[in-house]
């Protein structure tokens, strides 16, 4: 096999024989592989994590000083729960988390789920733990005085949130979020241990059909990860220099 053929397979996955396709799952989930699948898992989990991360970040906000005692107790209860949850998830290696998602549903609940969906579920949970922290610090990064200035101009709380707080928070968060996405993308490589046909696993399947070329295949794989991640980090640099205009006093 020449380099072009190898790259094609690394991009779209190792071809799957028709008899291995399970008719009870969506076909495209079984036919994608390689870099496509790595990106698909990373993108889906990133997008799916936004909602839980947002909720957790809101739960972790402290109540304001004028709030009633009951309000304060309830708020700090949820805040502690949310903090505990994110801390626990951050303490588990992604390899272990992925294995948990693959090997617990069946013995515990007799559930059979397509591997790709399990992978997306594991990565969504994993991502939301890190995204929560980004959202939280993003919202806290908005200067209180800026909010006050908006209030004095007569803006409603609704306008203040959507026109001042959210846009400023998003600007400060974008580079960190891109960074998180790259981290997730790189971490999808642990799925190779679970025979999910993403980029790294595809390369291992190729060892069989292209024996003697291990080194070349692996160098290609490493270069692909490197290129995606490197371009991403350059994008972050550009984003940072852009948002600098908008987000500093």
């Amino acid at each position: 096999m020449n380099v072009t053929e190898l790259l094609t397979i690394l991009w779209q996955g190792f071809p799957k024989a028709a008899e291995f396709i399970n008719p009870s799952y969506p076909r495209f989930l079984q036919l994608t592989g390689g870099l496509q699948l790595s990106l698909l898992i990373a993108i889906c989990s990133f997008l799916l994590a936004i909602v839980p991360a947002f909720i957790l970040a809101i739960l972790r906000q402290k109540s304001n000083r004028q709030a009633s005692t009951i309000n304060k107790i309830v708020t700090s209860f949820f805040s502690v729960i949310a903090k505990l949850l994110t801390e626990i998830l951050r303490g588990i290696p992604i390899m272990t988390l992925a294995l948990l998602f693959f090997y617990l549903p069946y013995p515990l609940f007799k559930l059979r789920v397509p591997p790709i969906l399990l992978a997306i579920a594991a990565f969504t949970i994993y991502t939301s733990a890190y995204m929560t922290e980004i959202f939280r610090s993003g919202f806290n990064a908005v200067n209180k005085n800026t909010i006050e200035a908006a209030k004095l101009l007569g803006l409603s709380s609704f306008s203040i949130f959507f026109r001042i707080r959210l846009p400023i928070a998003i600007r400060t968060m974008v580079p960190t979020l891109v960074n998180l996405f790259i981290t997730i993308f790189k971490d999808t490589s642990v799925l190779t241990a679970l025979a999910v046909g993403e980029l790294t696993y595809t390369s291992r399947l190729l060892f069989v059909s292209a024996p003697g070329n291990y080194t070349l295949i692996l160098i290609l794989v490493v270069s692909i990860y490197w290129a995606v991640s490197f371009l991403g980090s350059k994008a972050i640099k550009i984003l940072e220099s852009k948002t600098l205009i908008g987000s500093h006093k």
């Binding site: 200067n143 005085n145 800026t146 006050e148 200035a149 908006a150 209030k151 004095l152 101009l153 007569g154 803006l155 306008s159 026109r163 001042i164 846009p167 400023i168 600007r171 600098l244 205009i245 908008g246 987000s247 500093h248 006093k249």
Partner: protein
């Protein structure tokens, strides 16, 4: 007459002042004398303990909530300007015109441009706050407040973040605004500045405000 306590600490009591059209009142005092608290009380950002605040026939006491319709009508220029960092100069000034005064986009922009031109910011419409000098930021902050046609303009330490040339600029600007009829209250520890712009002068010391229409009173500051 307004009284302000933080917990048990009395900041000032029996403080009484009137501010009329076209008047510039300066209040000087040491840091911690409650100058900023006074501004925050008038603007509705901080509660006060007792007394009464009357703004344009609206009577406000500690028990009544600060009337919502006054937000946007009391212009405040903060010490560090608090411009919206993610918006251009033009957007900073036109935002409240659009959102609060419900002006359409083009007339809001025209009005904002009119004020910015007046304050010598013609070339800065599309700059972001962090691309401006201290003096420019302050002029944007004043334009932002003035564009809303405020009943009163409050300034918190207007000179502290400015270089000497910019201070001269802001003096002229404030006098012009007062001549147009906007009453101005500036709290400052800069006595020279206070003496230059004020018609009425106040010194706040240990919670007591002494007012005078002669800048001689500022010499009290040296004795404090």
């Amino acid at each position: 007459m307004v009284e302000k306590k933080y917990g048990k600490n009395l900041v000032f009591s029996n403080l009484s002042l009137d501010l009329n059209q076209g008047e510039i009142l300066t209040i000087s005092g040491r840091s911690g004398s409650g100058k900023t608290s006074l501004i925050r009380i008038i603007a509705g950002l901080t509660d006060f303990t007792s007394g009464e605040l009357i703004i344009d026939q609206n009577k406000i006491s500690p028990k009544t909530r600060y009337p919502k319709h006054l937000l946007g009508r009391v212009g405040v220029v903060f010490q560090d300007f608090n411009l919206f960092p993610h918006m251009t100069v033009l957007q900073n000034v036109s935002l409240a015109l659009k959102v609060v005064k419900k002006m359409n986009s083009s007339s809001a922009n025209n009005l904002a441009i009119k004020h910015l031109n007046r304050f010598g910011l013609k070339k800065k419409y599309n700059s972001y706050p962090n691309q401006l000098s201290g003096g420019e930021k302050q002029r944007v902050a004043i334009a932002r407040a003035i564009a809303m046609k405020p009943l009163v303009l409050l300034l918190d330490e207007p000179t502290s973040n400015l270089d000497p040339t910019s201070i001269l600029g802001v003096q002229t600007l404030l006098k012009e605004l007062a001549d147009d009829g906007t009453p101005i209250l500036a709290v400052t520890h800069n006595m020279t500045f206070a003496a230059q712009i004020g018609n009425t002068f106040g010194v706040l010391n240990n919670g007591v405000l002494t007012l005078s229409d002669s800048s001689d009173i500022l010499s009290q500051m040296n004795e404090i």
